[in-house]
C-alpha cells in the first residue's frame, strides 16, 4: 500500500494534539486518501490505553464499536516476510454518535503468534468480533473471556482466511464438534434448590427463521442463563470474494441479507466506486435509492410478518407478504430475478430500468400503505400484542451502544443514528425524511420503529419518483463499464476497453477503504483491501446482525422463553448476513 506513516496531522483527527499529549509518540496518524476514514496506528502494547482514551475522552467519544477487520498482508505486493509492519493487521472500526465520525484504529501484528489485548472490557461489542478474528485469521486476543471458534466448527483445523489456507479445504464435522452441554455444566449450581434444565433451541427451529442456536438454562419458564452460537450458515463469503473478480463478488453480496439484497449490492458497489474515484449518473443514483427503499420495506415486512407468526398472529403474515410479491414483480422486471437480483454494478446498474419503472413503482405504494395499515390496525393497539411486546427484551440506550447496535434496534433504544441521514449517499441527501426513534428499547419499540420506517421509505420513494432523472444509467468510465457495442465494433479504443474488461475485469487501484451504508438492520460496512490486481485482496463485511445476535443472550437473560422468541424475531437476525 502506498500510504506513509507520518507524525500527527491535526487536520485528520480533531483530537490530535490531545492524543499526542496523552500517548506521546505511541499512536500515529496514517495518511489516508479522501474517500477513506481517518486512521490511527498503534502497537499491541498501547492498544488498550488508546482504546480507553478514544472511548472516554470527550474530544474523541467513540462510543460505538462497529467492526474488527483483520488482514493477512503476506501476499500484498511489497510485503517482506518478517519485515516491519508484521504479517497481520487488526483494524478496529469505531464510530462516535456524538461527533458523527468514523475512525479506524489499526494494530500491526507479527507473523509468529499474533496477539493483541482484548478490547471486550472497553467495548463489550468486541467480544464476538474478536472470536471471529481468532477463528478465521488466527489472531489471539489476550484476556478474552471465551476465545473459541465461532463461525467454523470445532473440528476445523487452521484459520481459513489466512492467505495460505486452501479455499476448498473442508473438515469433517461430527455431532461432538457442536456446542453441547458446556453451558449446563457451567450454570449448574449445587446450592440451587430448584431444578433447572438445559433447553436447546435451534439450529433447526421455526422461530429462528434460519440457523441460529441458543442453549438456555431454564428454571421453569424463566431463562437463568443462555449462550447463543452462530456459524450454521457460514458459507465463506469473504474467502469466496478473494477468488473472484470485483464484479463477480456482487452475486455473493446479494446473499448476505437475502431479505433486502439490493441494499447489499449497492453498499458494495459504492465502496468500490469510491476506491476507483468514479461517480455514477443521477439516474442510477435515483434508481438505487428507490430500489434500496423498496428492499428496506420488504425486509421490514418479512421481519414483522414472520415475527407475528411466532406470536400467534398468522393473519399478518399473509398481509405482509402480499405487497412483497408485488415488489418482487418490479424487481423481476428490472433484473430478471425475484430475490437475488445481482442488479448493482460498479459504475451503475446491470441494465436500464424498465420503461414504466416510475409508474410501476408508484402503483405499488397504495398496496403497501393499505397492507401496512392493516397490520398496524391489527397489532399496534392490540392488547395481546402489547402484553407480548411491551416491556420485553428491553435494551437501554447505554446497552445498545455498548453492544454495538445500529439500525432500527439502536433507534428503538433512543439513538437517532441513521447513515442515510448522518452521512448521506446516493440521493438520500436530496430527499426529506424523518428518522423514527423510540426510547423504550423494548420489542414494541422495535416493532413500531420498523412500521414507521416503512412509511418514511415510501416518502423517500415518492419524492424521488416525482423528479426521476433521465439520461444514461451507467457511468461512461470504460475502465469499469463495458463500452457500447457500436464503439467496440468501430473504434480501436472501444475494442481495447471491452477486451480488457472482459478478460481482466475491473482493476481497482491498490488501497483500502471502509465504506458504509444503511442496511435494513443497521450499518452495513465494507472493509475492502485491493492489491491492484483484478481480484479483491480482502473483503470484510460489517454485518449489522452480528452484534445484535451477540447481545441476544444478554437480553433474554431473566426473561421468559416465550419473550425470547419475540425478541429474536424483532432483532431480525438474518443468518446469511450474520454468518456470511
Amino acid at each position: 500500500m502506498s500510504t506513509t506513516l507520518r507524525g500527527l496531522d491535526r487536520s485528520t483527527v480533531s483530537f490530535g494534539p490531545l492524543l499526542e499529549q496523552k500517548l506521546k509518540g505511541r499512536v500515529t496518524v496514517e495518511e489516508r486518501p479522501g474517500f477513506d476514514i481517518p486512521t490511527l496506528v498503534t502497537d499491541a502494547g498501547t492498544l488498550k490505553e488508546a482504546a480507553l482514551f478514544l472511548r472516554d475522552d470527550p474530544a474523541a467519544a467513540y462510543d460505538l464499536f462497529l467492526d474488527l477487520a483483520s488482514v493477512d498482508r503476506s501476499k500484498l505486493p511489497g510485503h517482506v516476510e518478517g519485515g516491519p509492519g508484521g504479517r497481520f493487521q487488526a483494524n478496529y472500526i469505531l464510530y462516535s454518535t456524538k461527533r458523527n465520525e468514523h475512525l479506524r484504529l489499526r494494530v500491526n501484528l507479527p507473523e509468529k503468534d499474533p496477539a493483541a489485548p482484548s478490547l471486550t472490557g472497553v467495548w463489550p461489542a468486541a467480544n464476538w468480533f474478536e472470536r471471529e478474528a481468532w477463528d478465521l485469521m488466527g489472531i489471539r486476543f489476550d484476556g478474552h473471556p471465551n476465545l473459541q471458534r465461532l463461525l467454523t466448527h470445532n473440528g476445523f483445523v487452521g484459520h481459513a482466511l489466512r492467505k495460505d489456507y486452501d479455499k476448498g479445504q473442508r473438515w469433517l464435522c461430527t455431532e461432538e464438534d457442536l456446542l453441547q452441554t458446556e453451558l449446563a455444566a457451567k450454570t449448574d449450581d449445587p446450592a440451587d434448590m430448584f431444578e433447572t434444565m438445559t433447553l436447546n433451541f435451534g439450529p433447526s427451529h421455526p422461530t429462528t427463521h434460519g440457523t441460529l442456536r441458543i442453549v438456555m438454562r431454564v428454571d421453569g419458564e424463566r431463562i437463568v442463563a443462555a449462550e447463543s452460537e452462530c456459524g450454521y450458515l457460514h458459507r465463506c463469503f469473504e474467502k469466496m470474494s478473494e477468488t473472484h473478480t470485483w464484479v463477480q463478488v456482487i452475486p455473493y453480496t446479494d446473499r448476505l441479507n437475502y431479505c433486502s439484497p439490493m441494499i447489499n449490492g449497492n453498499g458494495y458497489a459504492l465502496a468500490v466506486e469510491k476506491m476507483l474515484g468514479i461517480d455514477v449518473p443521477q439516474r442510477a443514483k435515483a434508481a438505487r435509492t428507490v430500489l434500496n427503499e423498496f428492499s428496506r420495506i420488504m425486509d421490514h415486512l418479512v421481519c414483522i410478518g414472520a415475527n407475528l407468526v411466532d406470536l400467534g398472529a398468522l393473519t399478518n403474515f399473509w398481509y405482509a407478504f402480499q405487497p412483497r410479491e408485488e415488489i418482487y414483480g418490479l424487481l423481476e422486471a428490472c433484473c430478471g430475478a425475484r430475490l437475488t437480483s445481482s442488479y448493482a454494478r460498479i459504475g451503475g446498474l446491470a441494465k436500464d430500468l424498465p420503461e414504466n419503472f416510475v409508474e410501476w413503482s408508484r402503483s405499488l405504494l397504495p398496496t403497501i400503505r393499505d397492507r401496512v395499515a392493516d397490520v398496524d390496525g391489527l397489532i399496534t393497539k392490540n392488547k395481546i400484542a402489547w402484553k407480548r411486546l411491551r416491556g420485553t427484551g428491553v435494551v437501554t440506550k447505554e446497552q445498545a451502544l455498548a453492544w454495538g447496535f445500529t439500525g432500527p434496534c439502536l433507534r428503538a433504544s433512543g439513538v437517532a443514528y441513521d447513515v442515510r441521514k448522518d452521512n448521506p449517499y446516493e440521493m438520500y441527501g436530496d430527499v426529506d425524511f424523518d428518522v423514527p426513534i423510540a426510547t423504550e428499547g423494548d420489542n414494541f419499540a422495535r416493532y413500531i420503529v420498523r412500521i414507521e420506517e416503512i412509511r418514511q421509505s415510501m416518502r423517500i420513494i415518492e419524492q424521488i419518483l416525482a423528479k426521476f432523472p433521465k439520461g444514461p444509467i451507467n457511468s461512461d468510465d470504460y475502465r469499469v463499464i463495458l463500452p457500447p457495442k457500436e464503439m467496440v465494433y468501430n473504434e480501436m479504443e472501444g475494442l481495447i476497453y471491452h477486451f480488457k474488461l472482459v478478460f481482466e475485469g475491473v482493476k481497482v487501484p491498490a488501497g483500502e477503504i471502509y465504506s458504509y451504508t444503511e442496511g435494513a438492520n443497521g450499518e452495513l460496512g465494507f472493509s475492502l483491501v485491493s492489491d491492484g490486481s483484478g481480484f479483491p485482496y480482502r473483503v470484510k463485511v460489517r454485518p449489522p446482525c452480528f452484534p445484535l445476535f451477540a447481545a441476544y443472550e444478554k437480553i433474554i437473560k431473566g426473561g421468559m422463553v416465550s419473550d425470547a422468541v419475540a425478541t429474536l424475531g424483532l432483532l431480525n437476525i438474518i443468518a446469511g448476513e450474520l454468518d456470511r
Binding site: 433447526s204 450454521y232 450458515l233
Partner: protein, 241 residues
C-alpha cells in the same frame, strides 16, 4: 401418466344421497360408502396428496419457500400446506438453502428422526450441489448426507419451480416406483429444471461421505468409509486448533 386412480364401485346408488353405515363393520344400505382398489394405490394416492413438509430452511431459499406457502402461491392447492417443524410429524423434508459443514450433523439427525415413508426435496443449487459456494465450510450437495428424491434448480428457485418439484414428487409417490426403487436401491433422483444427463448419483448410505480434503463428490459404489480411512484429517493450514 398411467397411474390408475382408485376405481369407484357404487352399490344401490341413489343420486345425491349418501348414508352412513349402520354400525362398525356393517355395510351401508345405500350410497357410495366403499370402493375397490389395491391397498398400495390407495395409500400412495393419499400420501401424495397430503404431504406434510418440514422446511429445513437455512438461507435465501427459505424466504422463497415462505412465498410458496403464503397467500400468492398457496401450496395448499397441492395438499402440502401443513408445514410441520417437527421432523416426527412430517414426511417431506424440504432442504431450502445452503447446508454448511457445521449444520451437516443437524440435517442428518433431522432426517433420521423422520418416520418412514419420507421424501426429500433439495431446493436450490446450494442444497443440490453447493452452488457457487465451492468453499471450505460448505457441503457440496446434501446428497453427501441424506438421499434426495427431487432436486429443484435455481438460486433461489422460483415458487413455480418448487411447485413443479412437488408435483413431480407427487407423481413419483403415486406411481409407487419410488418405494420399489428404494427397496432395491436402484433409485435415481430426478432433477427439475436441469439436464438429466448431469445427474449425480445420490445415495451415500446415510453416512456422511465428505471427508477432510475431499474435492469431488463420491461416485456410485465407492463407500464412504474407505475414503475416510484414506485421507483422514490431513494437516492443513498451520494446525492451530
Amino acid at each position: 401418466m398411467k397411474t390408475p386412480l382408485p376405481s369407484l364401485s357404487v352399490r344401490n346408488a341413489v343420486p345425491g344421497r349418501i348414508e352412513p353405515p349402520l354400525g362398525p363393520g356393517m355395510p351401508s344400505t345405500s350410497g357410495a360408502d366403499f370402493l375397490t382398489t389395491k391397498l398400495d394405490v390407495a395409500v400412495q394416492w393419499a400420501q401424495s396428496n397430503s404431504l406434510w413438509p418440514m422446511p429445513f430452511g437455512t438461507a435465501c431459499c427459505a424466504i422463497e419457500f415462505m412465498s410458496v406457502v403464503s397467500s400468492h402461491y398457496d401450496l395448499a392447492r397441492f395438499g402440502a400446506e401443513v408445514v410441520r417443524f417437527s421432523p416426527r410429524q412430517a414426511d417431506l423434508l424440504i432442504v431450502a438453502g445452503t447446508v454448511v459443514d457445521k449444520l451437516a450433523p443437524v440435517l442428518k439427525k433431522v432426517y433420521d428422526q423422520m418416520a418412514e415413508p419420507k421424501w426429500v426435496i433439495s431446493m436450490g443449487v446450494c442444497a443440490s450441489t453447493g452452488g457457487f459456494y465451492r468453499a471450505y465450510h460448505v457441503v457440496q450437495g446434501i446428497d453427501e448426507i441424506v438421499p434426495v428424491d427431487v432436486y429443484v434448480a435455481g438460486c433461489p428457485p422460483t415458487p413455480e419451480n418448487l411447485i413443479h418439484g412437488i408435483m413431480e414428487l407427487q407423481k413419483m409417490i403415486q406411481s409407487g416406483d419410488l418405494a420399489r426403487h428404494r427397496a432395491s436401491r436402484t433409485f435415481v433422483p430426478i432433477r427439475v429444471g436441469t439436464d438429466p444427463d448431469l445427474s449425480i448419483p445420490a445415495y451415500s448410505d446415510g453416512v456422511m461421505a465428505h471427508t477432510a480434503g475431499k474435492k469431488e463428490l463420491p461416485s456410485i459404489g465407492e463407500t464412504a468409509e474407505s475414503e475416510l480411512g484414506a485421507s483422514a484429517r490431513t494437516a492443513a493450514g498451520d494446525g492451530n486448533r
